[in-house]
Amino acid sequence: MYVTITSILIWLIYIISLFFLTFWLLTFLEKGLEDEELKITSFPKVTITVPAYNEEKGLAETIYSILELDYPKEKIEVIIVNDCSKDKTKEIAIQLKQDNPNRDIKIINHKINQGKGKGMNNALKIAKGEFFVCLDADSVIQNNALKKMIPVFENKRVSAVLPLMKVKNPYGLMGKLQWCEYLINLFYKGIMGKIDCVHVAPGPFSVYRKKVLDEIGGFDENNLTEDLEITFRLQKSHYKIVQLLNTSVYTRVPLTWKAFYKQRNRWYKGTMINMFGYKDMIMNKKYGDFGLLQMPKIFISGFIAVFVFFLIVYHLLRPFFKFIYNTSFVNFNFDIFLATMTNKILNFSLLELNYTNIIFGVTSIALALTVLKLSFRYTKERYSNQGWISVPAYLILYGVIASGIWLGVFIDLIFRRVQKW
């Protein structure tokens, strides 16, 4: 092999990943992650919008988590946007309004399905709150949320505050994988927030300053990932986005492979498309760390994922099938396999090990485990909370699955297959 293009690419990816990991850990060491405990002094009005399309199952629980928020009742305005649901969403919304006559609940009914961005903008038009919140109907908010989040807006540059996002339904392999994924992502986002590098204010309970939303023109109505797009726009206008880790929103994640693929395909594709829309921010000093580090990182991560996918196929799956093929010629004789192995072990010399790869591997694994440990500490979870399988399953499977999805996204983009929301 000597030094081939593949090995140079692997080294490059190693250098890039190691650089980012080290950078974020250094930032963490410098800034820490403890949220300042701010005392709430005033209670401004907050509008909470719940966009709902066929959400009959989760809607009531979502609305009740809002109604139970530890915040003055008259200061909360709820707007349910029923985006022409085909199920009983509309009836449930009306029932909820009737059941809580002393609460400020409004319902917007779309005659035709218009998408989430449009729904949020329609709510924005009638919203009376000083702050505007979106809460997807598949999510439930912790009752101390507004008390922790609203005081952060004392800083006039803050345009959005995000809670810690956790998985509400960590069931089965898929749920456990995502449970672990969310904890790590949120830890990472916590650090990013410290240097103004948050790149997405997700659907579940991102609190925006309404004035800023009006100023930048509301949500993009034709976007696969309007939450990512609006965050890019806020970053472009140099507003601050703060990620908190001291209050949580629990969101429902897809539990089947198909639903998961569909969701991620949309997210990743939306990321790529928006990346092209905001390409002038990539490597642009004007946007500080966000332009110099975060944008390039998001941009290349997809390409790296696809390359990793091919690496996995080439270096793990291909030899595996080749092995099966080759052994079929000796009728899968186990003795010969054993004899070859014994021979290898008996004649093993330490010189055979690939020390460069070992050093690269050990440093990567050590850093990854550090991040894992810190993630669990700062999101106040234990490894065993969802069974011992979740963390190893995440470590082994997540990269493979994500790379596979990225491959699908690139194929879609090449053939210009872009779904509607």
Binding site: V3, F19, F23, T27, D289, K322, I336, S349, Y355, T356
Partner: protein, 228 residues
Amino acid sequence: MVRRISRKNMLTAGIITLSIFIIGILVGVTMSEKRVAYGDEQMIEQKMELDSLQLQYAFIDQANLVNHCAALSTAIDENVKKLGIIGDKIQTFSSDINFDEEEYDRLKREYVLSEMRFWLFAKKSQEICKKDVASIIYFYSNEADCFDCGAQSKVLTYLKEQLQDRLLIFSIDTSFKGEPLIGMLKEAYGIESYPSLLINDELHPGLVDEEDLRSMLCKIYEDKNGVC
């Protein structure tokens, strides 16, 4: 508004990353040198073994000590096996990152020559000792050129395990361009495709499966016990 740039952390992260990377590469290079030294040592040992065997053989021939033939044949088999292991190791070494292409080519070349010497010697020793041994030269190539080479190796290893010192296998990597002898052999026996087996001077191109190989060997052995 001027956005903050974490210059200090970027620089520190860059320095840490590059340091780890350079350490990794340097260790790889150091090990690469150690491997060449190890390969050389093994090669010298093999040469010595061959010298010794050749002298033993000459002695048997002269003094007509045919009763020593069995011991000689076992010694040949053991050395060919050992040589095979060294060959595998050189293969493993050279597939790793290294910056010493020339040194590895030299090692590989020495290995090929050693194999050929043993092959010729094994053939010669047959004449006097008349042992019931078959020898195979297995011509293989890198995977891109030879899909079935892995399977052929498996079949050969399988039969070798069963026949032990009755079968001698010498494998030649035809994708190795550093030794003219390989080209000569290819020309002499008309080898064009891989895998190809040269069984006691008779060429069998293409993958030979276990059953076919058995029947071919069957024709060679006088004592057919355990073969067919």
